[in-house]
């Protein structure tokens, strides 16, 4: 292993902590005087019904650091672009941005294996990208065009990919579905787990508790992930929940609280959770403490139920991207030029995607009545009137069959 020289970062992060991180490094210097690996101390995890938790000492290789940085940055840029497209009225309806929460998804996908699955709610753009869909696939879905991940039929809330089951618009509904996906993994002996993500608001839905019970009762390898961004729409967590210790709310399901602004902490906690599930111990709950910068959806200014200062404070002291950037720079793991170059690449990719997403065509009218059924028993679908029925069409084979 690599030598450590770690200073505790303490339980609360402040701007100054970035400074201390620069000392919180270990390095193997290569010939350019850059480290190939660095390690850091995370905020302490909080544990529920667990004797020991993930290690608070985390390390990252240069290669991984660049990968995570690119992913964090890409999600942020996709979301910024989405916000602008919404303001230009090119994205319609809802548009829930993930800005501020990027480290949760990036940290979790870092340790996912090919046999693992994910399901989440409507705050789905970043997850969709991480699960293998290009920025164009995400942005064109948002603009409702044919290059969209669901050909523009699903829009902002409904995106899918292999091992990624969406994209659910009904608060809480994805959680039992995630237990079902994990059930199938156990049934088919794939060794896979499913991450079932939900918000602090969703955490109060009754079906989540039904799902906890089933998962524990049947030892289902499901990782329940509560992304606690402090608010469910305009309601702060403490106004909606009698207990805001979401990691304990599975009662008999063990749980871990993790700093959701720290990509490496999230990665370690997820690694631990996967081990837990795959060693036959059944489900586990992860609560990632995070923050959303934008309003709930683009139509919500997001400032009537919290102060601008609060948002600024998080941006300045706990931003998941800035903090990671400072860590990997200060530990000499990467050079500022490398990150600049990456940022430029990401910017170009997202900007190019935006251009296509704006000008791309919508799917043809025939797809209005395509894929209502995978085995349609009627050839035609009733139109607005009975006079000119539409043919039922089918597109390519389902990817989950």
């Amino acid at each position: 292993m690599i030598p450590n020289c770690i200073r505790s970062i303490g339980s609360q992060t402040s701007k100054r902590n970035y400074g201390s991180w620069s000392k919180a490094v270990s390095f193997l210097l290569n010939k350019n005087n850059y480290a190939t690996e660095a390690s850091f101390e995370t905020k302490p995890f909080r544990l529920h019904k667990l004797d020991s938790g993930p290690s608070t000492q985390v390390s990252v290789t240069k290669e991984d650091a660049l990968k995570y940085y690119k992913q964090l940055h890409t999600i942020r840029r996709i979301e910024t672009a989405a916000g602008n497209l919404y303001k230009e009225k090119i994205i319609r309806g809802f548009c829930h941005l993930y800005s501020g929460q990027e480290a949760c998804a990036v940290g979790m996908t870092a340790v996912l294996r090919p046999q693992d699955s994910v399901i989440t709610a409507y705050r789905v753009h970043g997850w969709t990208y991480l699960m293998g869909v290009s920025p164009l696939g995400v942005l064109a879905e948002l603009t409702g065009r044919q290059s969209g991940n669901a050909r523009g039929k699903g829009g902002s809330m409904h995106m899918y990919a292999k091992n990624f089951y969406g994209g659910n618009g009904i608060v809480g509904a994805q959680v039992p579905l995630g237990v079902g996906v994990a059930f199938a993994a156990k049934y088919q002996n794939t060794g896979g787990v499913c991450l079932a993500l939900y918000g602090d608001g969703a955490a109060n839905q009754g079906q989540i508790f039904e799902a906890y019970n089933i998962a524990k009762l049947w030892d289902i390898p499901c990782i329940f992930v509560c992304e606690n961004n402090g608010y469910g729409m305009g309601t702060s967590a403490d106004r909606a929940a009698a207990s805001t210790d979401y990691y304990t709310r599975g009662d008999y399901v063990p749980g871990i609280w993790v700093d959701g602004m720290d990509v490496l902490a999230v990665r370690e906690a997820t690694r631990y959770a996967i081990d837990h599930c795959t060693s036959g111990k059944g489900p586990i709950v992860l609560e990632t403490a995070t923050y959303r910068y934008s309003g709930h959806s683009m139509s919500d200014p997001g400032t009537s139920y919290r102060t601008r200062e609060e948002i600024q404070e998080v941006r300045q002291t706990r931003d998941p991207i800035t903090s990671f950037k400072e860590r990997i720079l200060n530990s000499n793991l990467v050079a500022a030029d490398e990150l600049k170059k990456l940022e430029a690449e990401v910017r170009k990719e997202v900007d190019d995607a935006v251009k296509i997403a704006k000008t791309d065509k919508e799917i043809p009218m025939s797809e209005l009545t395509t894929d209502i059924y995978s085995a349609p028993l009627e050839k035609e679908v009733r139109n607005v009137t009975p006079f000119n029925p539409l043919p039922h069409g089918r597109l390519g084979p389902a990817i989950n069959l």
Binding site: R92, G93, F94, G144, R151, G152, K153, G154, G155, S156, M157, H158, N168, G169, I170, V171, G172, G201, A202, N204, Q205, G206, G232, M233, G234, T235, R239, A240, A241, S304, Y305, E362, I363, M365, E367, L368, T369, I372, V381, R382, N383, V384, T385, P386, F387, L390
Partner: protein
């Protein structure tokens, strides 16, 4: 009682021209004043739902009410529809008059067991001992660009169930009069509002501005009279019906437009009378066609005397029989539009299109 009726008449006689004097009001404000007036009138009335209090309502229908009535009567709930809907029904059982807001009716599916099994059936099951005087309300139907899970009309779903009363207001007068009636009604009433109409202004008569204004549940409104064809619609679709009727009028076709207002009970008599006169009927709705409101209207006409007065089969205009897509052009093609109304009328009248 008598005095207020007299006052109402007196006031009306002062306004020389109803339309010139008519004040404009958005559907949102009409609903807001209905809530406000009924909460003021009856201490037992309270509002609960997601974001109804501090945030003033997700669509601002309850704006100002929390400030005015406080935590006791305007209550933010967690996002737990089956939980708070059940709590509301229980409170109604024990003598309160809850107004349970669903942020949109799409989320009422999480709570539908309490709407149907607890609210609709208890009076019957208890042989009339326990009634459920409460309101379930919120925006219903397709909004704009919110895709399949958020774009569904529950008109047919809830009107299917005996024990519920179901209203579907179109304009501001409808909204105020029907919501007030629903709050005062001793039975559970489902009030299906429309998000896209919240911000639209409609004239309010002096009468509708009064605190005593209520509309009867179970009565349709003839929005426009005509002799050639009857167009029956509810909610948003009334607008298409009226626009279509205007266009047809320019071509010498006089359509009678009936705004259902109430889906259960359904005012079939008003439709029968109209069809007896016009001999033609189409229905327009934004819900799905299969087992829909139009299907019910058509069947009831078939079962009535009016059947013999029809010169052409009844035609239903409804959403295309598929989930609603996000894609803009497809979304528009999914719902009945005004030209569909015009063309269908011409078709059944045998007029060149």
């Amino acid at each position: 009682m008598l005095t207020s009726a007299v006052r109402g008449i007196a006031r009306r006689s002062f306004s020389t021209s109803k339309w010139a004097a008519a004040q404009q009001m958005t559907v949102r404000d009409a609903l807001n004043s209905a809530l406000d007036e009924e909460m003021e009138r009856d201490e037992r009335v309270f509002l609960l739902g997601e974001e109804v209090a501090m945030y003033d309502g997700a669509y601002k229908v309850s704006r100002g009410l929390w400030k005015k009535y406080g935590d006791k009567r305007v209550i933010d709930t967690p996002i737990t529809e089956i939980g708070f809907a059940g709590v509301a029904v229980g409170a109604a059982m024990a003598g309160l008059r809850p107004i349970c807001e669903f942020m949109t009716f799409n989320f009422s599916m999480q709570a539908i067991d309490h709407v149907i099994n607890s609210a609709a059936k208890t009076f019957y099951m208890s042989a009339g001992m326990i009634n459920i005087p409460m309101v379930f309300r919120g925006p219903n139907g397709a909004a704009a660009g919110v895709a399949a899970q958020h774009s569904q009309c529950y008109g047919a779903w809830y009107s299917h169930c005996p024990g519920l009363k179901v209203v579907s207001p179109y304009n501001s007068e409808d909204a105020k009069g029907l919501l007030k009636a629903a709050i005062r009604d001793p039975d559970p009433v489902v009030v299906l509002e429309n998000e896209l109409l919240y911000g639209v202004q409609y004239p309010m008569s002096d009468e509708a501005l009064s605190k005593d204004f209520v509309l009867p549940i179970g009565k349709a409104k003839i929005e426009r009279t005509g002799n050639h064809v009857t167009i029956v619609a509810h909610s948003m679709a009334v607008q298409n019906a009226l626009e279509g009727a205007n266009e047809l009028a320019g071509q010498g076709i006089e359509a009678e437009v009936i705004n259902l207002r109430s889906l259960r009970p359904l005012d079939i008599n008003t439709i029968i009378q109209s069809v007896t006169k016009t001999h033609h009927l189409i229905t327009v709705e934004q819900g799905w066609p299969h087992c829909g409101i139009g299907a019910e209207v058509a069947a009831r006409i078939m079962e009535s005397e009016a059947f013999y007065h029809l010169d052409a089969p009844v035609v239903r205009l409804a959403s295309v029989d598929c989930p609603l897509p996000y894609t803009k052009s497809l979304e528009a093609a999914s719902l009945p539009q005004t030209p569909d109304v015009v063309n269908t009328v011409k078709k059944i009248l045998g007029v060149a299109q």
